[in-house]
Structures are given as C-alpha cells and as structure tokens.
Symmetry: C2
C-alpha cells in the first residue's frame, strides 16, 4: 500500500494512478498494463501491473527504470499539489500522510485504497473552500502502523516550512493507529510555533454513511481559522452523539478504542477545546497563543530507545538484554510505577552503565509516584527517572527526542522531568 517517496514522486509527476494503463521500461525490458494497488508484502519500489494477458507482475523500479507512457482511466487532472481557488480567505496547508481519512473504497474489489493525490484528498470536502484557502500536498501515503521515525521527521520538517511561509495553520491528515505517537513527536520537534497544527484522521472511510472524515477535516479548518491557539493538537470525533469534535493536546492523547469514532481520549488532562458541528469553539484549557515566532525544528531522535510493559513472568534475560542494549528504555510498570524487585539488579546495572530508564504506569490513568512504597523508593535509588503522569508512549517519544538533543546526563534527567509540551500535568488527581 505504501510506495517509496521516489516512486510516489514519479507517479505523481506523471499523474498515474491505480486503474490507469501505463507503459514501463525497467532493466532493458518493456511492460504494459493496468497499474494495480500496491501490495503490503511488496517492496516500496515495486509497481504491480496487470498485463494485457491478465497476469499480474511486480516490477522493481531501479534508478534507471521509468514509466514511459500513461493512459489515464479517467479525465480528472492530477498534480502533486492542489490549491483551492484563492478567495482571500486564510491560507491553510494540508499535508496528507495517508490513513483511512485519505482512502477510498474500490467498489469493484471492496478494497480500501489510499488517495495518492492532493486533489483526491480534498475532493471529498469541497465545503472546506468556504472556510479557508487550501494549499494541499501529499507527503506520502501510508497506513499509520507503517510510520517510521524518519516519517515523523519528514512531517515535522514540512510542517515547519509551511508555518514559516506564513500560513494560518497546518492540517495533517494521518492514519489513526499511531496518531498519538506522531502527534507527540511533532510536538517535541517543533517547539514554539506561531500557528496551530492539527493532526486529524478518520475511523470510518469517507464512503461510509457514518464516516468522520468530513466533520473532522471541516472542524480542523474551523479550529485553525477561528481559535487563537498555537499548539500541536489532535482533532477527532468527540462522542457518539455526533455533535462535536474534540481537540486534544498532542502529548496527552491516546487511541482507546479499536473502532469507535470517539476512540481518542485525553489522558490525565482536560481537552484543549471542543468544536461543534455548527462551528462554535469552546476552549476548555489554557494553551499557547499565536505569535510571530519562527519555527526552529529540532528533528534529531535517538532511535536506540525501547518501550517495555512489565508483567509477571517476564523473562529476566530478555529484560536485562533490552536494558543493556538500548540507550534509553521506558518501562510501563504496574500501579504507581513498579516492577518485580528481582529486576532491580538489572536496572541498577543498566543505569550505572549509562542507560536512561524512565518509569511510567501501564494503568495509563493517574501518575507514577515512586515515593509511596519501598519498591518505588528502591527504583529511585537505582537511578530510575519518574515519568510522572506521562503516557508510556509519550515518554517513549520524548526520551528519543531528548536523547537526540543532548548527551549530558543531568540535562536528560532535567528535560525528562520537566513539562515541555503539556506532557506532564502537575496537578495530581489523587482522589
């Protein structure tokens, strides 16, 4: 389903899409047939073509391979960038990355296909042109479970460029599966921003009557045009009552249901705002205001970081191996932040040899408190860093980012325990 950026660029340049008849030259041989959907198991540089004989073949597109002709299946124009008519409305950038929100269903096969083009991304929501002028690009087209750290860096860099070019805000349509990881990463990478960045998606594709794609995109545009916020947020369907969208802080949001439209919840934090489907915005917690700051993205990430949930029966040797082989490890411990005391030796040895170990809670709600029980105090004395009320996933992304910024032991500890992007809520909900 996902193409390499090189191959995607070639397809976009030529306006080629699934269903088109194309001719290809690769390694001295010529092929002709219908461009088929890319298969998950296929290499991202492979094109699948249904030959005139009826057989499907995969063609690995090397550096010298090229698409020599495209006969479009329909007459719609396709370009790498789409802009709505310039009506003098605030300009909003849309950076497509894939996912259900940017997919459509092929009624012949029943398969879900990604929108590879900015115009197909926006075609489902023509009403957005009444709210803002749109400058749309497709960065890539991936299910979000395929996102990589490089994709986060790519998105953050492109968002920074758009913000620095003076747009009123940026919408990032994104798959929902790993949206919370991406939103946290972008939030840490971008730092101070002058205008809002809204990551949004859909739990139901736009061909379904209950799709949330339309309302989420419209609400994202309204939030950018009508709110005075300047943070990275996640906007998703608010509740099954179908009247509003919820705006979550990028570092506090988690997908808490596999299929419901109101799957996203702010954990240990209030919502930033609610945008009702009439367009009214209700601000629900303080947030950073708009400014003229220039974005200085800091994209470096330490990739040698792991996230581990502790559970009874966990292999001690596996645990010790992960701790010793990583520069940072986030543990999702039990309760207030515990592991078996039998693992303390391994933790002490890892910390002494330079591994940063951050403790969070697999309960998700509530915070780590390493001062209540002896277990916690012993973990603290072993050098474990308290993740406070950070989500395990947010602590994982933050630790990668912090270790990408500094090598200094004290600075790592200071940053991990400081509230940088709303990821640590100081108020403790103890009752």
């Amino acid at each position: 389903m996902s193409y390499s950026s090189n191959l995607l660029e070639m397809l976009q340049r030529l306006g080629a899409a699934e269903g088109d008849h194309i001719e290809v030259r690769s390694e001295g041989r010529d092929y002709a047939g219908i461009l088929m959907p890319h298969h998950q198991f296929s290499h991202p540089d492979v094109l699948i073509i249904k030959l005139d004989s009826g057989y499907n073949i995969g063609i690995r597109m090397g550096p010298s391979s090229e698409i020599t002709a495209v006969q479009k299946a329909d007459v719609r124009e396709r370009g790498p960038r789409a802009s709505s008519e310039n009506k003098g409305l605030p300009l909003v950038a849309v950076l497509g990355t894939g996912g259900t929100i940017a997919s459509y269903v092929d009624y012949r096969t029943g398969a879900v296909h990604p929108a590879l083009y900015a115009d197909s991304l926006m075609a489902a929501v023509p009403e957005i042109a009444d709210i803002c002028d749109v400058q749309a690009d497709v960065l890539f087209s991936k299910f979000s479970e395929d996102m990589t750290v490089e994709d986060w860096q790519n998105i953050a860099g492109e968002v920074a460029d758009r913000l620095n070019s003076g747009v009123e805000g940026v919408i990032v349509p994104h798959g929902t599966d790993t949206m919370g990881y991406t939103s946290a990463a972008i939030s840490f990478m971008l730092g101070d921003i002058p205008r809002p960045v809204v990551i949004t998606g859909a739990q139901r594709s736009s061909d379904r009557p209950s799709s949330d794609a339309y309302t989420n995109l419209i609400s994202a545009a309204r939030f950018i045009v009508n709110s005075d916020a300047a943070e990275v947020v996640v906007l998703m369907h608010d509740s099954s009552s179908d009247t509003s969208a919820a705006v979550h802080r990028a570092t506090k949001v988690r997908k808490m249901h596999a299929s419901r439209r109101d799957a996203f919840h702010s954990i240990n934090a209030p919502l930033v705002a609610r945008v009702d489907f009439e367009g009214e915005i209700e601000h629900l917690s303080p947030c950073r205001k708009r400014s003229d700051v220039k974005v200085v993205p800091r994209l470096e990430m330490e990739k040698n970081v792991s996230l581990l949930q502790y559970y009874p029966g966990m292999s001690h040797s596996m645990f010790e191996k992960v701790l010793s082989e990583n520069r940072g490890v986030v543990i999702a411990g039990t309760g207030l932040g515990h592991t078996s005391s039998e693992l303390f030796g391994a933790i002490r040895r890892a910390v002494a040899s330079g591994t940063f170990v951050v403790m969070t809670s697999q309960c998700l709600y509530g915070g780590v408190n390493l001062n209540v029980y002896a277990t916690g105090r012993d973990l603290l004395s072993a050098g474990v860093i308290s993740g406070e009320d950070m989500l395990p996933e947010t602590a994982y992304v933050k630790l990668m980012w912090v270790l990408g910024q500094t090598d200094d032991d004290e600075e790592v500890r200071r940053l991990m325990t400081s509230n940088l992007r709303g990821e640590i809520t100081t108020r403790r909900e103890m009752q």
Copy 2:
C-alpha cells in the same frame, strides 16, 4: 518485603514478627537482636536483625539455620491459621497473599509493613464474623508486582483445596498492581468451580480514613454468602461516590488508574454484579451458578511466552529475537490489531517455525478485527491468531495456560479463539 515460603513458615511457626527480639543460629554463629522489616534488595532467605549494638545485619538462613528463641514484643497470639468463632454461619476461606489490603503502617517509621499472620489480616475487619465463619491462612506476603507464575499456581492449588473441602467460597486478598493477571490465571487454572472465588485488595491501606480495605473485604464476604454465582471474580471499590463495590469477571478486569480506589474497570464486558455497602447485590450479567462439582485444577503453564506492545521505531532485531526465542508471543498491536508491514517477514518465519503469535489491541477497548484492512488480512495469512476482544494481559496469561495444556497446533488455535472463561465477548460493540 517478601520472605521465602520456608522462612515465612519458620517465622509463623514461632510466632515471630517485626519488633520481636529473636536469637538466631546460622552456620555455627549466634546472633541476637530485634527482627527488622525485610528489605526489597535482600534475598528472600535473609533475616534483618538490629543487634544490641544498634547495627543492622542481614543473616542468610540456610537449611541448617534456625531461630532459637523469640521474645515477643507484645502479647498477641500469632498462629499460621486463624478461625473466627464458629457460629454456624457459612464457612469462608481467606487466603492472604499480601499487598496493601494486608499491610499496616508503622507510625514510628512511616513505612508500610505486610501482615504476616492470619489474625492480623482479619483483625481490621471484626464485622466479617457477623457474615460468615472465617478460616484464614496467609500463603505468603508479597507486593503483587513481585508475583510469579509459581505464586499463581500456589494460589490456585490452595483455592482448589479449600473449595473441595466444602467452604462456601474463598476470598483472596491480593496486591492491586498485578491483580488482573492473577485473577485471569486462577480463572483458567480452576475451570469449573462449585462456589465463588473473590480476589480483592485495597488501593489505600487500612490506617487511612478513605481506605477501601474494610468495605472490599466485607463486600467480598457478602457476595459469597448472598449471591448464587460460582466464578472467579475481582471485587474492588466501584466509584468514588463510596456506596458500592464492583464485581468484575476475572478475565475482563484491568487496573486503569494508579491511585484511585475505583481503579478497576471491566473492559469490553459488563460488570458481574454490584454490592452496595448496605449489603444489597445487583446482578448485572449472567454467570455460572453454584454446583457440587469437584475442582480439578490444571496448573501447568508454559513460561516461555512474552507480551510485546508494537510501536513505531520498535527495533526489528529485538522483535525478531523475541518471536524466535519464545514458544508464544502476544502482540498488543495498534488499532484493530496491526504492526508495521516490515515485521510481517519475521512474524511469518516465527509462525512457520512453531511460535504461536496472538494479536490483541493496545487500544484495550474494542476488539481486534483482522479482516478490515490489508494489514490484518496479511497477518492472518501469516498465521497470526486473532485475540478478538481479549485484554493483552489476559491473552498473555491464557496463552501460557493453553500451551501448558496441549502441544497440538490446532488445539492451541481452537482454545485461543474459544471463549473459555468469559475472556472473549462475542457481542461486538462496533458503534
């Protein structure tokens, strides 16, 4: 904080507790002093003694070591088993395992200590004697983050003995951190049972005004005496409104808050019942009824099983290593049960070489559905077993248990996808 069962038995036999003056002979040397609280970092066979000189020492108690004298700090009788006066009320067995519910605070030091004796376990709840006759034992005294698979087997075996001896039910006071893992394990191990088994705990120790220890123990006794259920359940504080206790199915319950009393939630399932603090029981979902069945515990567990949450940036080599080195792996995937397609090769190889891979969702709420997206269909074709709407932790415990019962590939797949103890809810909440 935790002693080996040998050492605990010796302490119980002699009635020795923290604060008592004891004399010890070990490896030809004699020691005398005050018995101190056991330290987390200490070996479970080590006694800590404050010598008359004021120094603390640790004494490793080998097979030939013994406690030669005990001078009790107070006059209270201590025995390994405590029974309430026999009033002809239904007989309920209480099997202490430790945790906050069985701990008390030393006001001199502020430290939380475990109750090592059945009488101190029950002393805080004298009113229980008006509901039932009690036969109390302390199996061991551990914080629940220190629980092991052997502890689950020990508890299940003892519970089976009590049930087969004809008691009206069994209460298992337990630490809350890993209560959901233990409850699932006991539920799978025991199978059909004639009377209810209620695992309960406390989020606040009994010295605190808002402690839930008292109401949870009383409600557990009332549920056993007044309900007609015969399942393994978890009973914990229902909501912060302080009016009832919630009874959860053992395989569907998860600790969802680090500190609140109403931390336990039934995920993807209704409550079994609610017990209000006046004693009224409201049954909320069908459950197995009482019978005269004899319990045939099946305690075997395959320990070579791991639980892994998938996240973007996960090390491919670590993932492949865990899959290749375990007999079973439960993945907490994203959304409807996904991982990066880059890991499919490793999954296919692991399944082909005999590893059982079960997919669950890190969303917790909602179920895995591997038929919606190509990612899921490819995982199915790679041989991944759908965990349906099982909690990742329950699927982990179940896979250990299933692999402990059978080596047959088809039988493992059949059992993992069958609803054995209410762990799979057939009704899909798709809206």
